[in-house]
Structures are given as structure tokens and as C-alpha cells.
Symmetry: C2
Subunit: 344 residues, 2 copies
Amino acid sequence: MRRLNVAMIGFGNAGRAFSRIILEKQKEIEKTMDCDIRIVAITTGRRGSFLCEEGIDLEEACRQIEEEGAFRTDSPQYSKLTSTEVIRSVEYDVMLELTPLQIFTGQPAIDHIKAAMQRKKHVVTANKGPIAWAYKELREMAEEKGVCFYYETTVMDGTPIFNLTVDTLKFCKVTEVSGILNTTTNFVLEELAKGASYEEAMQEGRKRGFVEADPSMDMDGWDAAAKTTALLNVLMHADITPRDIDRTGITAITEKDIKEAKRRGCFIKLFCRGVIEDGKVVGTVKPIEVPEQELIAHIDGTSSAVSITTDLMGKLTIVEHNPEILQTGYGIFSDLIRVIDHSK
Amino acid sequence: MRRLNVAMIGFGNAGRAFSRIILEKQKEIEKTMDCDIRIVAITTGRRGSFLCEEGIDLEEACRQIEEEGAFRTDSPQYSKLTSTEVIRSVEYDVMLELTPLQIFTGQPAIDHIKAAMQRKKHVVTANKGPIAWAYKELREMAEEKGVCFYYETTVMDGTPIFNLTVDTLKFCKVTEVSGILNTTTNFVLEELAKGASYEEAMQEGRKRGFVEADPSMDMDGWDAAAKTTALLNVLMHADITPRDIDRTGITAITEKDIKEAKRRGCFIKLFCRGVIEDGKVVGTVKPIEVPEQELIAHIDGTSSAVSITTDLMGKLTIVEHNPEILQTGYGIFSDLIRVIDHSK
């Protein structure tokens, strides 16, 4: 049986959801893919690292973080190595980049990915920073080094947006991409439309866990711009960064705007879009009025949607309904399965 | 370069749309996949056949059918061989089953597929009959003979429903499938909701080409039941036929029902669904009231939608917006590309 050693750089909610899927599906993967997946390294920012050549006890790793808040320094698997040291020195086949997003730089994720690829390791990232800020360079490096580089989780969790297009829409040329990609703004606009005030909407969103302490990255459209950039870079070969997106957040939208839109039979949505103009991919993120008979007027709660228009298959829309953290874990898992499929 | 010989059984609108994609993409396939696709046989029910070992002139074949209504008997490629004779005697690698659907038997498509597989030929079918009536047997036969067997076009044209699930949702277990799959009934219900009478709705639908001379297969829910069966057989391993679907058409729906639903803020839709009950897959097709804030209330025109719920990825919906015949052609084309990818 083939052995695949995995290093997890970052071990937050998504990493632990991924770990639980591995625990559940490990036997099935051995049986159907003849592959023995072992997690040989887990690093965190400030909670220590675990290393074990024979495979870390994932159950115990999750338990320590969740119950004790950090890896126990007296665990036999404990290590003081930093993420960068692990990426550069430990023996592994695939690196999973799961560190928190730095939305204006894509770092340290970009450096992590480069360091792993330099050593000819396959890379899976759940971090949209690298895809928004350095996609072309990383894609070229992956090709040069002959390694897999997957990033399905960066937009709409495990929903197969990139893989759908690459695997199942072969020979189709993408001419337009659009969608509703930011949960926080979508939730706030929905609550306002129901009659809540801004203050109430933000409070409710914080309570339900998808409005950040500092919500400006979402409200100003930066998160949506990063996701739009990722989509346009991968699906339309745009070679842009989030700064190239014509971006308007929702902070200028008033309760009155929403009421007036409603009177016209419309909902206001933060709409992301990329089209080709004069041979160039042009991306926008801005609030628009969507007539209530249109499908995307009804992307509510934490749901998201992406529409992809191609020359041969017309317009398709894929909707993810109210995802939870399991769906993020699955995105990482499905990319790892792709690595098994596409590498020798 | 590898050579792939293709026999087309049936040459209606979908077959000709497929042919035009081949003409457009042939060079690109040669370049990127190192494969030379040649159509070596085209058969029709009553319009003659074309045979040519070196590859049929597709442009001319389309022209003759479209301008002259049949293949010219004085064409050098003309042949009197029937579909069955071609399937059994001509040398080809892949058979495309594109004959018209016989909804209550799945014939002659099922026999065509068996005859081709018997000779160890790969099969692509755009005909939902075989998937609704004989999926398990054909799937087992394909495995026994070691051939590819693809059928993406049978539900929602080239929209990647089957391939999405098989290729990109690996290790996910499908627990529920639902959707709006029949254009005729969806159009009629939409027109009624707009205030048209049944008679007016049918007339408009006929004019626009998606209400048949005898619309009973659609109105009674048989078409939707066949598609539902195909989805449940493939995605949920149901091993059922359309007769096992609990089926109610829309003929009993009155204009009054629709008005009352509207007053309650609902649209009536012919809803297809499969769930697991007591360990068994149970399929239903019936008109239901869908609240207007739900996404599928807004699947209009000729659009369709399928929702797939899995253990690991929750609920995803994929929508095909107002497809044309090109999208059917693409479904056949994409399956042929899969044959190239998955066969040696």
C-alpha cells in the first residue's frame, strides 16, 4: 500500500473538521485507493506543534486543542518547531496550508507554499490569500516542480467550483463569473430587509458567529474582492490582485435604500462579477438591486452562489446551502483525495 | 497520436450539435489530448446511414440532413446498413446512443448498448431510457467488459450532475436528491401563474417548441419520473424503474389552485425527490407549493435545478439556465472526452 505523509500548517476549526473526516474515512481510503494517509506534523501559531513519523493521534490532538486550548508540552509528540521549520525540515508528501488569512498580503501562507513547493511537496491550501495575491506565480512554480496545487476550499468551502470547471467542463471557455460570496454582508442586508436596524443586524450576526469583532474587511467588500479575484485568476486566467477589483462595500447602504428597493420588488445584494471587456478580465464587487423573481435574490442566511457562463455550456449556477465547518473540512479533504488521484 | 473511432447511432438535433462541437474543437483535442477523433459511422432511423473508415465529413452530413431531409443515396459515404447492423459489424471504439426515447421500454437503446458492450466497445448515451429502465444491468455489463459507460446528457443536458458527484464529491454519501426536471410542466405552471389559461399556456409552449404534439408524457409526470429514476439509480444506487416512482402529474392542477397558492405566497412546481426511508430509496414526482422566498420557486422558463444532499457536503444545488441544443451536444461531447481520459 502506498503511504502518504501529510503536514498540517494550522489547526483551527477547519483543520480539526478535516481531521475528523480523515478519522472517519481512513479505512475506506485504504480499501478503495490503496493509500495509507498519515498526518506526520501539525503546527499552530501559538499552541505548539505535534510531530510523529508514524502518524499523529488525531483524536488526541483535537481533544487537547479543544479542551486544553493548546498542545500539552509533555505529550510524546510535542515539538517546539515553528511552522516554517516544519515546512523546511520535516519529511512529508503533502502540505496543507491552513493558517489564518492576512487579507492584504496573503502572508505567511504564500511563503509557506513556496517553501513546500521548493522541496517538491504537493500543496493544498484553504487560504484564499495566496490565490488572490500570487496565483500565477504559485501555479507556475507548481508546474515547474511537478507538484499538485489545489485550493477548492478558498471559495465556498468544499463546493466544487474550481474542480467542477476543471474536471467536468473540459474545453469550455469561461466568459463570465458572478455570485454572492460574502456571508456577513449578505446576512446584514437580509436582516435590514426584514426591518432590523444596522445595529441589531450586526449584533445578531455576532451572536451567530459570522460577524467578526472588526467587520470592516467584510463590510468594505475586501473579503468578497479576494474571493472574486481567486475565481477570476483561476477560471478566467486574470492575473489580478484584490486591488484591481472595482470594489464598493455596503456601508453606504441605508435602511431607506433597502426599503425603496423593496418597493420596487428588489433586494439589495453585494454582487461579485467578472467579465471580459476589450480582451481584459474586469472584476467588480458592489451592491446592486436584484429583482425578486431572480434566483440570487433568494441566496439567504449563510448560503452562497456562483454562476459560471461558458461558451459551450451557457450559464450554470451552483449554490451552497447554509454550510457549516464540516463543509470547509471536506474541501481540504477532497483536495487531498485529488492529490492521491493525480500524483504517483 | 491515438486514434478514436466513433459510431453515432441517431443523428437528430443533439447529434448535430455534438458534431459541430467536434468540428470546432477537433484540433484542440489533438493538441491537448493527443487524440484523433474520427466519426466512422452515422445511422438514422429512416434517413439512411453514412460510413467512412477514414472519418465522415461532418459538415456535409449535417448539411444533407438539414437541407435535404435525408442522406443522399448517391453520396460516396452512403450505406443501407441499419443501426443494429452497424453496431454489430462496423469497427469503432465508442458508440454514441442518440436514438429517440421510448419512455416505457428504453428500447431500442438498451439493446444497442448491450450489443456494443458485448463487443467491448465504450458507450455514451444521451438517452435516459436505458438509465431509467436497465441501469444496474448495463453498469454491471460495462464493468464485466471493462468499458466506459457515460450518460451525463440524460438529466439536464451537459450540466455535470453525475460527473460532479462522481468526480468532485468523492467519499460523499448521497442522502437526498430533489429538483425541477421537466421543462414543459414548469413552463405551463409558470404561464398559469402569470394568468394564462391552460389552453393559452399549451399553445405558447407549442409555439416555442417545448410542448410536444402529445404532451401527456410530460403532463402526467412520466418524463420527470424517468429523470428522477436515472438520478436515484446512479447517485443513490436505487435499482428502480419509473414505475416505482410515486408519480402525480399536473393535469389535476386548476387555475384556482394556482391562484390560491399565490395568495399564500407560493408557486406550484412539479417537484422530484428521492430520499432514504427504512433503508430503501423512495422516489416521488408531484406538484407541491413552494414558498416564494425559496430558490426553486424561481426556476423558470426552460431552466432546471437539482439539489444533492450528502453526508459531508450538506446540500448543494446546481441550476442550468435556459439551455439550448448546444448544451445537449456538449453533454455528449464531455462524455466522449471522459472516454478519452479514462480508457487506454
